[in-house]
Structures are given as structure tokens and as C-alpha cells.
């Protein structure tokens, strides 16, 4: 029984199709993250769910109750905003109690008890009488969380709640949000453009672009099996490399040909690819699946090292292919999915590879290397539609 469901939401803002036939559902106790570049419609979707915007079409169902035509105040939701939305004329207690008082049917002692309990969990007890304006950003956002915590809402919504906080505070508030979600056991919808946040918090991540959900799934699935070139070029850091390739049958199995290089594809794909009638495809190569091939392999990718970015336990190496024309930056991804914003620009000027520490050996910028790819890190997309050929 889904705790929150949206069906076929459509919303036009001016002449921009902000939300285009959006549907998804979140079960009780499930944490769904709407992840997407700015302008993809994720915030608009959230505002429709909470009732601050009316959809042009579609339905919102919360706790089996259609709420599409109800005003925000009758939807019984808890929401946390990016700019906190606290009342500067009140102290912390007043802010925490606001929602319960507005409802008008909660006894004074009960309000007091709940506010104190929430304040205790969020380390706000000492600040209860402090005016909001004296609080730091992190404390203010915790008050906003507390306001959601004191009530028994049917669903909890978060609109980029960490964006205004510095990294140190983010960590704390993130844990508080997860704790709130666990305690309430209600559906949570969390909007963000930050992948790290999305992957660390979400049970399920819905990647959005152009007002539509591109793919819904657990974080691993999005990284390993992106459903289309947009998701492939958006998810992951660095995201999947996209290359122009031709399919060729070799010895009963298939391989992708990039320039003069031949990259074998998993044998399990053979039946599916046999039924595919086009030769030109877009090949996705996960950065961590790029391997260094021995010298002289004529059918491997020749590339020059541009730079090496050492990270903890691994290194991101940027390479310029000899067959550089083959690289599709996400900006050149199919029009239907296009205009994904700067975050999705991806490996615009080359191929990204992630090597475990040591694996990259003595590479230095300027070195010419030969590359292969592990078959399990490859993905094949239709060149025109951008959709993955295999599930």
C-alpha cells in the first residue's frame, strides 16, 4: 500500500514544461530522493505534492487520500525548506509549536511535551527560549526539522534542506533527517541536485530531467545500469563515459568498435543484440571499468593522459582519445534528454578513468597509453533515443 503516490502530474510554468507526466510512488518507510540538475522540475514536483502549486493535470494521493484539490494546510505534511521558513518574530519554542497550535486540537501540555521531546533529540533544549535570529544556519535548519518532527504527518518532504549549510553542518543535519525518517516510518520525498546526498540517504533515487523521471532505482542500479544516456552522463562522479561505437559480431559474440579499438561485450547480451537492427550505438564505459592494456595491442584505445587527480584510495585520470571524435559529451546527448545543465556536462574533453591506488602506476600527463574496458562496466544505448538496449 503506497504511502504517497503521484500519477501523471503535468505543470506548465509560463511556456516551460516544468513537470511532464510525472508518476512515482513511495511506500511507508521508504526514502525517495528526487535527483536532477537545476530546472529539471524536481522542486516544482515537490511543491505540487505539498499543495503550494496546483498541477495542470494529474493526481496526488497521500495515505490513500486524494489530496490534489486540497489546500496545503489540509494535507497533513511535514516539510523542510532550503531557506528554513522559520518565523523570525518567535523563539525556538514558538517555531516548533507553530504547526500544533495552528491545528488547534492539540492540548497545551501535549504541545509542550512534544516540543521538548523533539528539542531533546535535536540538541535544541538549551535554545528553546532563544530568538530564531540568534541561531546559526545549522541550528535553524534543525529547528525546521524539529517542526516536522513534532507532528504526525502522513508524509515528509525535504526541499534541498542542506544547500544553505556548510559541509560540516551538513553531515549533522543529514543524520538528523535520516533519524527523523526512521522514527516516523512514513514516506519521505527528498529533493536535491547533489548526488552524494542522494546516494547516501535515499533507499530509492529517481533521476529527473526535463520534467520527467528518467530512471528510478537504488543508487547502485543507477550507477551500474543507467536506463539512458542522460542518467549515464549525470550519475556518478565522474559519470559514465559515452562513446560513439559500432556493433560487430565476432565469433558469435558481439563487440563494440570505437575507432580502431574493439571492446568485447558480455556474452549474455548476444541474444538481445542479435535482434537489434542498427549498427551505430552509443557505448557507455564506467570510469572504473577502464583498464590499462599492455603495449602494442592494436585493437585497444590509444589515449594520452591529460591530468591525474589523486583521491583517497583511487585516482581519477583524464585522457584524450586518439579517436577523440568518438567521445559524446552529455551536452551532445540526444535532444530529447538534452540541456541537462552544467552538472551533466561530464567528460566534455575526454575520457575519465578511475584507477585504484597503485593501478595507475607511474602515469604522468603526456604519457600515451592503450586502454581496454571490462565488459561488465559497459552499457549500450540506442544512438537516437538514448535508451539502453538491455535492461
Amino acid at each position: 500500500m503506497p504511502g504517497l503516490e503521484v500519477r501523471g502530474l503535468v505543470k506548465r510554468l509560463g511556456d516551460h514544461q516544468a513537470v511532464d507526466d510525472l508518476s512515482f510512488s513511495v511506500r511507508d518507510g521508504e526514502f525517495l530522493v528526487l535527483l536532477g540538475p537545476s530546472g529539471c522540475g524536481k522542486t516544482t514536483a515537490l511543491r505540487i505534492i505539498c499543495g503550494l502549486e496546483q498541477p495542470d493535470a494529474g493526481e496526488v494521493i497521500i495515505a490513500d487520500r486524494p489530496v490534489t484539490s486540497l489546500p496545503a494546510r489540509d494535507r497533513n505534511l511535514g516539510m523542510v525548506f532550503q531557506e528554513y521558513g522559520l518565523y523570525p518574530s518567535m523563539d525556538v519554542f514558538g517555531n516548533l509549536a507553530y504547526g500544533l497550535q495552528a491545528r488547534g486540537n492539540v492540548a497545551r501540555e501535549e504541545i509542550d511535551r512534544r516540543v521538548r521531546a523533539a528539542a531533546g533529540k535535536l540538541d535544541l533544549t538549551d535554545l528553546l527560549k532563544a530568538p530564531i535570529t540568534d541561531l546559526s544556519g545549522g541550528e535553524q535548519q534543525r529547528v525546521a526539522l524539529g517542526r516536522a518532527l513534532v507532528k504526525d504527518a502522513d508524509a515528509y518532504l525535504f526541499d534541498e534542506p542542506l544547500s544553505n549549510l556548510d559541509p560540516k553542518l551538513r553531515h549533522r543535519v543529514r543524520r538528523d533527517i535520516t533519524a527523523l525518517h526512521r522514527e516516523k516510518g512514513k514516506p519521505t520525498v527528498y529533493v536535491t541536485h547533489d548526488q552524494t546526498e542522494a546516494f547516501s540517504m535515499g533507499d530509492v533515487v529517481a533521476v529527473m530531467a526535463n520534467g520527467r523521471v528518467q530512471q528510478v532505482g537504488p543508487p547502485d542500479e543507477l550507477v551500474e545500469r543507467p536506463a539512458n544516456t542522460f542518467v549515464a552522463g549525470f550519475v556518478g562522479s565522474p559519470p559514465m563515459n559515452l562513446l560513439r561505437a559500432r556493433l560487430r559480431a565476432v565469433d558469435g559474440a558481439y563487440a563494440a568498435v570505437v575507432g580502431e579499438a574493439v571492446l568485447p561485450l558480455p556474452e549474455a547480451w548476444t541474444p538481445a543484440l542479435a535482434g537489434y537492427d542498427k549498427e551505430e550505438v552509443t557505448l557507455g564505459v564506467r570510469p572504473d571499468a577502464v583498464t590499462l592494456a599492455g603495449p602494442g595491442g592494436a585493437d585497444t584505445l590509444a589515449a594520452e593522459v591529460i591530468d591525474i587527480e589523486p583521491l583517497i584510495g583511487e585516482a581519477v585520470v583524464r585522457l584524450r582519445l586518439k579517436a577523440q571524435d568518438a567521445v559524446v559529451s552529455a551536452e551532445r546527448a540526444p535532444v530529447e534528454l538534452g540541456s541537462a545543465g552544467p552538472e551533466a556536462a561530464g567528460p566534455a574533453e575526454g575520457l575519465a578513468a578511475v584507477f585504484r591506488s597503485g593501478e595507475e602506476g607511474g602515469l604522468a600527463p603526456g604519457d600515451v597509453v592503450r586502454l581496454g574496458a571490462r565488459p561488465d562496466g559497459l552499457r549500450v544505448f540506442d544512438r537516437d533515443s538514448g535508451q539502453a538496449l538491455l535492461p
Binding site: A72, L77, Y87, P88, Y98, T133
Partner: protein, 313 residues
Amino acid sequence: MTERQVVTEDVPTADAAGGRAPDKPAPRLSRRRRLEGVLFVIPAFLFQLSWGWYPLVMAFVISLTNARFRGPVEFTGLESYQRLWSDPLVGQAFKVTAIYAALSIGLTFMIPILVAILLMEMPRRHIRWMMLLWFLPLSGIASTLLFRYMFNAQYGLFQWIATEVLHLPPQPFLNSSDQVLFWLVFPGILFFGPGLIYMATLQGIPASYYEAAEIEGAGFWRKVWTISLPRLRPVISMLLIFAVIGSSQAFEFPLIMTGGAPGGASRTVVMYLYDLLRGLRYADATALGVYLFLVTMALVIIQRRFFREDPDR
């Protein structure tokens, strides 16, 4: 460490001795800043002294004499004050001013708060129309003269509305001693109101406050009470002082509209003061001014008390 100590110790000395340490940049800079500050303040200070404080003090001094147009001036103590105290016209003028002030604060000060709050709920288009009305660049005297014609009991626009549109018996308007004050205040409801400032303040409130409140389950009045009004409070407080001072000194508008008629029913304190001046009773006129000053000061002090705490801290 030692260097820092030397500097901190030296700053006050250099300041006090003025230029004893010309090779130290910091004190010189601060002295220069102070000099600049003083230079900038001097003109305003002189202006305030000659047009603000000098007349105020002189009014006190003159009110304690028997100053007339000509003849020797003698110190007569509180004689003028006693004379005014028993003058029935003074009592009437204060009463008229009080009613006028109450009406104008009630109608042209409070109503726009409500209107502005309600307007914020409306589509942008309507908001612009109302702002235009409030913002009409009307010349004070010209519009006053215009209103005098509109209030004319024989051929004025308001009379036409009363008889032809509302089918009421002809109204006396400014000729009735009961109605005159109301009609004097009436135009201010639509025009010259502080509504524009309220609107500007309300538009400056981040939408997220209202949105958060809405999701928390707050209705319209609760939002007004917990968000709009607290935000307007400092503005209301400031404008109220201006309104109290302004309406207690009402002069040119009633003077042009009615000249105090009928029978002194619209003669304010300042108008009576003007009459005294024209009668060359300088001492009495200044004494009346001092009375008005005291009353206004008292009102402002009470009002400051009432609005003392600042909501935003």
C-alpha cells in the same frame, strides 16, 4: 606580540595628545576620519540649531513675556498660559484636533494596513492598481482645492453621488459641524495613505514564511497575525509617530478646506495659533505652541513605550 602591545598602548595616548606620534598611521587615520565626520555634520547641526532648537527655545522665552507687535517687552511668567487655560476656544481647538487625529489615524492609518494585507492575497494586476492610487503624485494644495469643489454642497461631486447615485437627501458635508471632521479626513483613505510603505514591506517578506506556515496548517488570519503583522510592526511604529505628530499639527488642509467653519468646528490648535498670531498676540500664540508641544511629546513617549520591543531584535 610585543609590537602589537606597543601599538595598542599607544593609540589612546596619540589620540589624546593629538599628533604626538605622526609616524604611526592608525591614529592619524582615525583622527582624520573624525575630522571628516565633524565637517559633514556641521551644516546639518547649524541648520538644526537655527531652525529647530532656536525657535523652540525662543518660543518658550516669548511665551513667558507679554510680547506684542510693538511696545516694551516684560517678563510676565505664566500669565499667557493661565489666559489660554481659561479660553474656551483653546479647549475647542484641542478637542477638534484630537478628534481629527483619531479619525485620521483610525481611517487613513489603520485601514491601509488591512487593505495592504488583503491586497497581498490578490493577483498582481490588482495590486498594481491600488499602488497606483496610493502613489498618484498629487500636488498637495491643488488636490486640496479640488476636494473643496468636490465637497461643495450645491454642485460638488460628492453631493451628486449622495443624491443621484445613493438617493439620499442632500448632505451638508463640510457645512455640518458634526460631519466636517470626518469629511476632512475622508480623502486620505484613498490617497496619501501610508499603504504604499506597508505594501513594500509586505512584499519584502520571503514567500517561504507563508509557504511554511501554510504547510503547518495555518489559515489566513493566523498567517497575518504571526507573519505579516510582526514584520510590519517596526514600520507601523515609525509611521504612527509621524501620523501622531502630523495630525496633531494639522493646519493647511483644514484651513483651505473650511477655514475652521462652521463655527470653529474644524478649527485645529495650529489654526487657532495662527489666528492668535494674526491678532498679534505673540506671547499667547507661543504659549499655545508650547502646550501643543507638550501634548505631542507625551503622546510620542507613550507610543514609544508601547512599541518598545523590537520583533526582529
